[in-house]
Symmetry: C2
Subunit: 224 residues, 2 copies
DNA sequence: CTTAGGTTTAAGGTGTACCTTATAATAACT
DNA sequence: AGTTATTATAAGGTACACCTTAAACCTAAG
């Protein structure tokens, strides 16, 4: 009847964020991190120090943070749990696409492999979360997830939507309302000068989305 | 991307324990509570004070704690989540009977009705947890759970096991290894003097279990 | 009615995870 | 090289949930 959960909650969020913000092996600036987590830079620095003592991250002053081998392993484990729970919530409970992310965020810290592995089995060892992101393997391998971003397309190119990231309810709803959903086929019509907003055609409609938003959409090009 | 879970974890454990330790409307002594939770009486008193401010419990000094209407409602909600997760873990993931309690203990604090109600639906609105305990309704009603305890039987009486409580892995495993499982039919053979250990026959075997342990087993008598 | 034992309050501490304000150090740009 | 902006550290605080030790208090039992 122990009561302690041993608040591994926050550090896990840091790990996940560092992993997701990291491009290649470049260290993630603490400001970027604190920004994403909605935490003051000072507090984030403190936390990073604590995590460094536990050998989860390496901090290069004035450069940023990167994950150690241990940290990476743990980050991928959290990510796996997160995405499996998302699948569970949509596939088994029928919760809507846009809502599952937040719920999965609280579930991901609550259980270990003794639950997530049977869960993965029950779900049929899915390869991706409902938003199309790949699920790390139980062994801690991340399937390559390099795709083209919508804003990297050039005018006239056709492509299919693979992933939408980050899994923010607002973003997901907005894109969905414009017809940009997983598997949707689209064509890039025009790139606006200055702002770089993209005009794309989806189905029979034409919609305009900003460059930032476009960069949330991962696609693979198809031959027109 | 909020990071705060708003540690409702511990208070919820207190609520659950108070509910489960409470017999009728008698207040639960803080020592009993602190004992169950493995926490010092001083700390428990502190927590009770905090919870009193939030109008979750009423503390009568030197008597004990009882739940307010709000506290009761919340306790039953936690219990519902707990027992639904237990069902999920056994029915859907095939985890063993004796292990699901601890896992459910961490899951029960992570999600609200937006998840547990669809979960209940998916599980077929079960009425009891895998250990036989009744699941409170979504409206916060607790189905009556008064049964006879094994130690209340007299020699010669036959009965069927309905519930085992508390859901402690050690207890569950020990009883199971003696053939005392849900639905098992048993007969009380003899009550040992002084200690009050019970000799019972289960299946074709005779086993002896202590009085304390016997009180964990809820049964309903049958006509021999 | 007194006293032993359980209960409560008080006082001081720990560790985690956040906050603000202010100062120091560095990097990067002109 | 000097200034600016970012980044880090220092100092002091809050809140939660636990801890110990010690003193005050009540209750119930002899």
């Amino acid at each position: 009847m122990s009561i302690r959960t041993g608040s591994r909650e926050s550090p896990e969020m840091y790990l996940k964020s560092i992993y997701q913000l990291g491009v290649g092996d470049a260290p993630v600036p603490i400001s970027t991190l604190s920004n994403r987590l909605g935490i003051s830079p000072v507090s984030a620095t403190e936390m990073i120090h604590r995590m460094e003592k536990r050998r989860l991250v390496k901090h290069i002053p004035y450069k940023g943070v990167s994950l150690t081998k241990r940290g990476l392993k743990q980050a991928l484990a959290v990510l796996r749990r997160h995405r499996l729970w998302e699948r569970f919530l949509t596939d088994r409970l029928g919760l809507p696409w846009e809502q599952v992310h937040d719920v999965a965020c609280s579930l991901e810290h609550s259980v270990g492999p003794e639950v997530t592995e049977p869960l993965a089995a029950d779900l049929g060892e899915p390869a991706t979360c409902p938003h199309g992101n790949p699920i790390p393997t139980a062994e801690g391998e991340m399937p390559s997830e390099r795709g083209l971003r919508l804003h990297e397309l050039s005018a006239g190119q056709r492509a299919v939507v693979d992933v939408i990231r980050p899994e923010n309810a607002e973003i997901l709803e907005h894109l969905a309302s414009h017809g940009v959903t997983l598997g949707a086929e689209l064509e890039l019509i025009e790139i606006e000068p200055l702002d770089g907003a993209r005009t794309i055609s989806v189905g029979s409609k034409q919609v305009v989305i900003g460059k930032e938003l476009a960069s949330c959409v991962v696609v693979h090009p198809i031959h027109a």
